[in-house]
């Protein structure tokens, strides 16, 4: 027995739902979304395209001029430790002198003169100073040891002393390592080859400190200058990369400037 209303309800329930079509649309939308995430520009996902490179300028010697004393920075001076408390030394007081025995005054004793003796010359500063007519004292060229030791990075020399080192360090973790590296390379390099030119070298420092992949990035135009820079790098032995530096290697672009 089948009711008329049931037939109507069943007829409508059997209608196609069309879900398969929407599944296909959903799959296509997800594929499109994944492709969008894969190929969307980096700026859309908030990525910084390239971190600012750390550039350091190292000037050896500085500009020619009068020697003004070289490095004058005092920032590198170590902070003195507080002086430990000194133990208090107790000095035993000497025994008091025995007072003289009481005596009666003598009747024939001579009395002391009541008046003060007159001074034979005026005491210093009691009279006006005589103006000098000689040359005024001036600062000499001799260097005074101020006991201040410069740290080598971060400050510049005043007046181009000629012996100072000018360094401008960025945010690299270990400037001491760069300072040491520069000094070691400089030992094997001289800037005087009779001609002026600039050679830019590129090399990689491994974790163990070995210099590898030495290559001339920008030649100077003189083979001798390029070979001198290459030789300086190949002869240098560097210490291991510092522990705070996390990367396995460090690539450096170094410019060697030659003068006559």
């Amino acid at each position: 027995m089948n009711e008329a209303a049931t037939q109507a309800i069943l007829a409508r329930a059997g209608a196609p739902s069309g879900l398969n079509l929407t599944i296909a649309w959903s799959v296509a939308a997800h594929v499109g979304l994944v492709l969008f995430f894969l190929y969307m520009p980096d700026s859309w996902r908030g990525r910084v395209d390239e971190p600012p490179r750390t550039v350091m300028t190292i000037s050896l010697g500085g500009a020619p001029g009068p020697r003004a004393g070289g490095m004058t920075q005092i920032g590198g001076r170590t902070v003195q430790a507080p002086v430990p408390d000194q133990p208090v030394r107790r000095v035993d007081a000497p025994p008091a002198a025995t007072p003289p025995a009481m005596t009666l005054p003598r009747a024939d004793a001579r009395s002391r003169p009541r008046t003060q003796p007159r001074p034979e010359r005026a005491v210093p500063n009691a009279t006006g100073q005589t103006l000098t007519t000689g040359a005024e004292p001036q600062e000499g060229p001799s260097r005074v040891d101020t006991r201040a030791r410069g740290q080598g990075f971060g400050l510049t020399t005043g007046g181009g002393g000629g012996t100072g080192v000018q360094l401008d360090v960025g945010n690299f973790c270990c400037p001491e390592y760069l300072e040491q590296m520069t000094a070691l390379i400089q030992r094997n390099w001289t800037s005087q080859h009779g001609v002026a030119g600039t050679t830019t070298m590129k090399f990689t420092i491994t974790r163990g400190g070995a210099i590898e992949q030495v290559a001339v990035e920008l030649p100077s135009g003189f083979v001798a200058l390029d070979l001198a820079a290459q030789r300086a790098l190949l002869l240098t032995r560097l210490p291991e990369l510092p522990t705070p530096f996390p990367n396995p290697s460090l690539t450096i672009h170094m410019k060697f400037e030659y003068s006559r």
Binding site: L19, T22, R47, P246
Partner: protein
């Protein structure tokens, strides 16, 4: 005179500072994540595809139902005979009101077929009368229930997706962090460069879970409200249908 020289160093950190495209970045993240996390991501992808299929299907169905219902009500109130309304039902089949009407109309026709013409003097000659108006009411009620069930079909899947996909994603994240801590222990270093990639890979699962859950929550609430609106319309239409039937066929 001292020799002058200057050295310009440009540090280029190997690997980390090298420009990496976003394409490589995302693929590397997906590749480096573990097998469990990849399985979790696959499950979440299936949930997301299914839920969006349901969302698109229900949005299309409910929108068509709304449009057809408006037009059906206009036809129903403009017509003077049920047969005219029945003729228009074929083109407005998406409306749930059509189902209610067809059920009531079928019940009325069935009663007319089973009931002989009235001989009562109060009833005009040749006019058919209903045997039971309550039966028509029950037929309308059954049809309304069936239509509501049809409208609510698969909406519950959205609630399921909204409930469990964040937990599935969280499971993947917890598992990924476990693996990341194991790597940290094996490396013996707490450097951020070692810790961060593992956590980043682990967090992909949570992001994927939320990506599947958030639209499911929104559209579940939206569709539930829409179905309630249709249920109210069907109740109203059933009462209107009963009034007309009682006025004309009793």
């Amino acid at each position: 005179m001292h020799t002058l020289g200057s050295l310009v160093l440009a540090l280029q950190v190997q690997g980390g500072a090298a420009p990496v495209t976003g394409n490589t970045d995302v693929i590397r993240l997906l590749r480096d994540t573990g097998g469990i996390n990849q399985a979790v991501l696959l499950v979440l992808l299936i949930f997301s595809i299914s839920s969006w299929a349901v969302i698109l299907h229900k949005a299309w169905t409910l929108r068509a139902a709304g449009d057809h219902s408006k037009r059906f009500i206009e036809v129903f109130r403009r017509s003077s005979k049920f047969s005219e309304v029945q003729a228009a039902c074929a083109s407005l089949s998406a409306s749930p009101l059509v189902g209610v009407f067809q059920s009531g109309y079928a019940e009325i026709n069935a009663q007319f077929r089973l009931t002989p013409p009235a001989t009562d003097a109060a009833v005009p000659a040749g006019r058919a009368t209903l045997k039971s108006l309550a039966a028509v009411d029950r037929a309308l009620l059954r049809a309304a229930s069936a239509e509501i069930g049809k409208l609510e079909k698969r909406v519950a899947f959205l609630a399921t997706t909204a409930s469990i996909t964040p937990f599935i994603g969280l499971f993947g994240t917890v598992w990924g962090i476990l693996v990341a801590f194991n790597r940290i222990g094996a490396t013996g270093s707490t450097n951020l460069a070692i810790v961060a990639p593992g956590i980043s890979e682990a967090l992909i699962s949570t992001a994927a879970g939320l990506f599947a859950a958030i639209p499911a929550v929104y559209f579940y609430n939206h569709f539930s409200t829409t179905v309630k609106t249709f249920a109210t319309e069907m109740d109203d239409f059933a009462l209107e249908f009963l009034n007309i039937a009682e006025r004309n066929f009793t």
